[in-house]
Symmetry: D2
Subunit: 366 residues, 4 copies
């Protein structure tokens, strides 16, 4: 329902871009999880706009205040509420959007849906700023997944515009290798590709335009046999949370759409034994069969569209005059939201997986 996710834990996001505060409540979070504040801060930092040449100039500290659910730095099992005050708002920028809806943005649809009562300033509740509390929630979920199940979540930019990342040695890198990228300007394995991507994004920015991208998110160490068939498949659960992230327009598991280029005999994942564990030789199914984990890494690709808010002049419809007019979008926008989506999509995956794990192992997690 609405901005609430989860069957067993309930993540509830709230706030508007230019309101008092944004934040979240996580109900049903497991008790006894040690809170690593440095890790949380690092995750928030990863999402933050930094290099102004490739991101928005709106730069907020996004300091998280945790209001409940902790005691002596451990989770109590009670709802965890956290808020982030909005500091750097400039509401004047958005005044005309109610009659001049931005193309490919939620302005028009939200206006109809909420009968003109919604807060349109900075996109209101639809703003990418809402991904900050999502990253916070994801950080907590990562801590629980790691402590209780040894599960690790990571991601990299697979593609920006026509530039594709490459894995070293042509195999899925380890969790540690993924994490090493986080120190780089972009979460990309291949440095040449990274530099090309930065160039493309800077060009887009200079041209008052934007570009999109594809992010690959991976969950390592998911136990075998978690999930269910049909509408509670792991794919259904992850897709539900991933499509909750603004600008996501596609999702695929393993080979995904590329399956169409293979024969069954070429892409079936054969079983074998590795280190005394049943594994598959390939992982074309992205770790999921029949909606249930098979013990291989869960591999998800997510398509992010180019930022719709571009500085370039566009045509749109004046809702009042019913005439097309030229629109110049003011405000500060990322030329490529895919860049900052990396930790956000990791968070979305983490929330979906913790929800699944609690369902499988129960509220006591043992």
């Amino acid at each position: 329902m609405g901005s609430v996710f989860g069957k067993n834990i309930k993540l509830s996001l709230f706030g508007e871009s230019h309101g008092e505060a944004i934040g979240c409540v996580i109900d049903g979070f497991p008790n006894g999880i040690k809170i690593d504040n440095d890790f949380i801060e690092l995750e928030m930092e990863r999402r933050r706009a930094k290099n102004s040449s490739i991101s928005t100039t709106r730069n907020e500290k996004d300091k998280v205040e945790i209001l409940s659910g902790l005691l002596e730095n451990k989770t109590t099992g009670m709802p965890i509420a956290a808020i982030i005050r909005n500091e750097n708002k400039r509401s004047g920028d958005y005044s005309n959007l109610k009659i001049m809806p931005r193309p490919s943005h939620s302005d028009f649809t939200a206006m109809i849906r909420y009968q003109n009562y919604n807060d349109i300033r900075g996109g209101g509740h639809f703003s990418g700023r809402l991904t900050a509390p999502l990253v916070f929630a994801g950080a907590l979920c990562k801590l629980a997944l790691k402590e209780k199940f040894g599960i690790n979540i990571a991601a990299h930019i697979k593609q920006i515009y026509n530039i594709k990342d490459k894995y070293p040695n042509d195999r899925l890198p380890s969790y540690k290798e993924f994490v090493n990228n986080y120190k780089k300007e972009l979460s990309v394995f291949d440095n040449d590709a990274m530099n090309e991507m930065i160039k493309i994004i800077k060009e887009a920015k200079m041209n008052m335009d934007s570009v999109g991208g594809i992010i690959t998110v991976v969950a390592f160490n998911v136990p075998v046999g978690f999930g269910e068939p049909f509408f509670s498949s792991i794919e259904s659960r992850i897709a539900e949370s991933m499509f909750g992230v603004p600008a996501v327009k596609g999702i695929e598991f393993g080979l995904g759409f590329d399956f169409v280029n293979y024969k069954g005999s070429e892409c079936n994942d054969a079983y074998t034994i590795k280190n005394n564990k049943i594994k598959t030789k390939t992982n074309n199914n992205g770790g999921i069969l029949g909606g249930i984990s098979n013990g291989m890494p869960i591999v998800v690709n997510v398509a992010i569209k180019p930022t719709p808010s571009i500085a370039k002049e566009q045509l749109t419809l004046n809702i009042k005059t019913k005439k097309e007019e030229k629109l110049i979008i003011k405000g500060r926008h990322d030329p490529c939201i895919a860049v900052r989506a990396v930790p956000v999509l990791e968070a979305a995956l983490s929330v979906a997986l913790l929800d699944l794990c609690v369902e499988m192992k129960g509220k006591f997690l043992k």
Copy 2:
């Protein structure tokens, strides 16, 4: 949860491939909807295996018996239960799969998940046969969507292996044009492409192999302003239901993954006026902005992997001996499940949209 879908209507699927019966219950279905039995039969017929040269030789009449929820051929608003008796079972075929799990199939994961108690015969509850009650439920939902909202749902095969369908005149065809294809051997617009696809599938069958495909599903006439941001976005809802269909491994809306090849200025959907209604000139976002419908057709592409059950000899692991062994899969399987997935994915979309519509307009639907 499990084989249950929906927040406002609840579709519950049940049954196993080689059990007594398969079926469904739909709770919360709107009252007063006229049941068109010919239409339901037509939908069931579309899913049925027909031409044995491109589909399984298991051919069932799939006669639906409706047990409740109707009176004088109209829905009463009470739960609609329907069953389909299994007739054409050959259980002997599946005896060795518990120790020799089929690659890329649910055999192994279901065994772990259900602690070896699941019914593996014919894939059990994971079987594609369970899509028969889904098509039945979808047919009812289509009737309600049409009667109450004028919404129409249709689909075509966008691609099989390397063969792509083409739209006449390079624009999204109308609902009627989609429906015209249903009389053809495959739901494809371009006859040359269709013949190539049939050839490819026959070849796969002859080679004891299989191929995958991409299906495009479209909802026409969805009202503006239905949906919600974040985890209740239309994309989240549709993805949840679509990934409930076995063998689906990817989903995208509008341009989807192809967004990566565009600049924002090239793919933003500009607003305009058409027939006195606010529309967009292009529909790259597939009818959804900010998780909410914008009045354009909802366009979804779905990737279907090649049937994992192929007759060709494969290697798999013998769970008992822990040795790799050759596996010959018996039983009757479709060389390309994408073919029969067309009405199934329409059904999945119909169920998700009716659930959304009931949420937006309430239980009285007025």
Copy 3:
């Protein structure tokens, strides 16, 4: 939603009194539970109308056909669907109820709610007949609760009209003592009280009238620490399922409404040690503190109103003429539904508790 119960298991009831069949689907039921058909039959038998002098003359065999979810007499973890064909229908009896709604019955409210499309024959989906599949589902849940947790559920008639049952030795009897009553004509401990109750019911029947009652339902052996505060309290969960049973108008836990007659110092349940386990000396809270089980028996009292369908002449409104008219209700009705509600309320409690247990211990139940 609607006739669906549960967060972790999903019980979906369907059917109408005079339709083809009634039944249920239970999704998410644990795998590996041994099905004891004799026990199920016994439970169905307990609910069945028997002695026609104190119950309806509509007597159905209520033969349950299980369609899915079992293999070699054990549950597979897949949805369990079961149907009961309606045999003994006499639809002619109900023709005038659409314009002459029965007092205190669902006729009028259902008509408005379902815009006149509902099936009113025999109460349609609102009929007490729908409690037959609930008892079936409850029987399965009892088997799972017993096998996995050692939990036992039982009930007795606490009061019919002004006649109250008495516990032997003034303490809550054991599970076994409760079960011993099941062989009696009524589930009552005190035989004198039972005979008085039978007399009262017969009188009511002779007078073409009806009486109500109070049922006490008990869950023995519930582990400590199951449940949650606020809206997921055990009380909330059990109340949700109990009020799903037709004619239930009140529920209380432990002393319940009688708490008003005590001071805190008189009714607080003091902790002590019994057989090396922490127990309370009294059980005034009915086994639940802060929404969470405390290891004592869960004790629930449920108020059942007198059957609203009485044979005695009543006044009602003719919906068409807008005049009050005399109404003679035909059809066959129990003079005291509380009698047959005993196993039904046990079933409602069983379903709620199994749902809770799966949530606490996870889908693998270990």
Copy 4:
């Protein structure tokens, strides 16, 4: 799930008695509702501890800060988050409760449930303080119910210990008459009864003891035909929210448990015409038939147990030594929580009814 209520709106409560803040998020609240801050403040005031001779000496201003979901004093349709900072905490009082659990309180059960990680100070999340955000949420829901449906919610104290309130003229008073009581020291119609109740409570306080009570909550003007049979009955929904309030141990609708004292012919609610509307002559069913509203006031009685935290010396078990020991509870507690439960239970009913109304009429509420 947990501290989250609602199917269509989602109310999420958070916070601990001695933590940073308590608060709530309401997701799915209707857009365009005008916020009456005076009314909200009045509702908060009604719940506040005032007269220290009959309530706790912990007195907080409970100033609500709304963080999101409002624009120009109207709701936007986006999640409404609100926090109340805790000011008046004295955590030292509670240090020994982990080994000396208070009788009839959540100390012991919460400890087991949350594996000893829960915050026990002041009852932590189980504290009655959490009813402050519930009253805030209820105030918003009341505003929406009134503006959109004309529904009004009110309550009075029906009984404290052995003292019963009386309705003037022996009929259910009007909404306005209920509201008139709010100026009194207790929400009671009969002034003699009120004075007796105050005397009883003062005595209990002087004796370091506590008393319980029964509250009657009424919803006026609920439209006919809202609700559903079985587990989505209005009774199920209201009971789920009411049992979310700490110390509630019983609930009944209309005559409730008193039905047992009537014959069907004596308590059936006969239909008639009043002011051209179909009404019932009596309202023994409390406005609900078959789980669906019948247009009469919804009347709910709720049993509140005596405050378990009494100052009087009690015995409890020392969890460590396994010996019974004397316990003196420090801290500040209400001698009769029923007094302050009046607006809390109104809030619980308001939330349940708004959730129902949104389900019936849809997200646009028209």
